[in-house]
């Protein structure tokens, strides 16, 4: 009986509502996962070349909300879905789209040269900027963001290998702070919502 009483008591405790009010854990109301406190996003290492001009640096986009994506142009599903979703988010933003910058850095420099990445991104949105460079430089950039990438040998022994890579999208605010991380699979509406929230931050 004592054991039963203890169990019932513990069960009751498991569901007792707490009346203490907690601080709002997500004060800017993002759909994405939020870093608290936000910290400056890591600058890109030298040697990441941009598809539009020169080296790709984060500082260049200060004043815009940056959505950083890691992927590769031979990606069969995740990258096309993500980039199409982000292109749609830009359309949803209307005149505010100019404040959103998608930066797509390849994890497959072997096949993704500048021309190839440029052509690939143009199929989604003309404003998207890509980056590529030497494998070691790109690996260092991934390390700074905690992104992963791994080559998958072709199943049949051919040359057409695959890449396993991070599918999340890093959200950087206008002041260059890494604010949030959006898992793969969110809608264009969610991205547009979060970009608007980040645009409103000082």
């Amino acid at each position: 009986m004592n054991r039963l009483a203890r169990s019932l008591f513990a069960l009751a405790l498991a569901a007792v509502p707490a009346f203490a009010s907690a601080a709002d854990p997500n004060p800017i109301g993002l759909k994405a996962g939020v870093f608290d406190p936000p910290q400056p996003a890591a600058e890109f290492p030298a040697g990441v070349h941009a598809t539009d001009r020169g080296d790709l640096t984060l500082a260049r986009w200060r004043g815009k909300v940056v959505l950083l994506v890691f992927g590769f142009t031979h990606c069969p599903a995740v990258c096309p879905t993500t980039l199409a979703t982000l292109a749609q988010a830009r359309r949803l933003l209307g005149p505010d789209a100019a404040a959103m910058q998608v930066v797509y850095v390849t994890v497959d420099p072997e096949r993704d040269d500048l021309a190839h990445v440029r052509t690939y991104l143009a199929g989604f949105d003309a404003s998207f900027v890509g980056g590529t460079g030497q494998a070691a430089v790109l690996a260092e950039l991934r390390r700074r963001y905690g992104a992963t990438a791994q080559k998958i040998p072709p199943a049949g022994g051919g040359a057409d290998y695959g890449m396993s890579h991070s599918t999340t999208i890093w959200l950087i605010d206008r002041a260059g702070r890494l604010r949030a991380l959006m898992p793969f699979g969110h809608s264009a509406e969610d991205f547009a919502h979060d970009v608007r929230q980040l645009m409103a931050l000082r």
Binding site: A14, A15, A18
Partner: protein, 142 residues
């Protein structure tokens, strides 16, 4: 004999009342966070060759109750928490709005994947009993 009879009826009444409460009382939680922490000194312990696992392979969440994954890094160095790099003293809170199974890359696990299963909020009396029972088991394990 009469005392035993009374005790049996009392026990049955208590169990029935508890089951009724567990089935029909509204569910409520103090926080929607499902927290995981990397304690201070974790990096040092790993460097010393100790195996330290923080995140399980699978995390179960329930919409409207515990539907926010909260990762806290209390160590002195940046830590990779599943798919997220969390700086010292920083936390990362990921809300979920849809019931589904989410897979993330996670180099900390042998499978290379971490799975988060988000279930719908318990809708039936039986679902509520099960949820409370699972919470009870979790609390008694802790």
């Amino acid at each position: 004999m009469k005392a035993v009879h009374v005790a049996s009826w009392t026990l049955a009444a208590v169990v029935s009342a508890a089951a009724g409460w567990a089935a029909f009382a509204p569910l409520s939680v103090a926080s929607r966070d499902e927290p995981f922490e990397i304690p201070k000194g974790t990096w040092a312990r790993r460097m010393a060759g100790n195996k330290v696992e923080i995140l399980p392979n699978r995390i179960d969440l329930t919409l409207g109750l515990n539907d926010q994954l909260l990762l806290r890094n209390l160590d002195d160095v940046p830590q990779q928490f599943g798919p997220v790099l969390v700086m010292p003293g920083q936390s990362f809170r990921l809300p979920f709005e849809k019931a589904s199974t989410y897979s993330f890359d996670c180099t900390a696990h042998a499978s290379g994947q971490m799975t988060i299963v988000v279930a719908e909020a318990p809708a039936t009396p039986w679902d509520r009993i099960q949820w409370r029972w699972n919470q009870f088991k979790k609390k008694t394990r802790a």
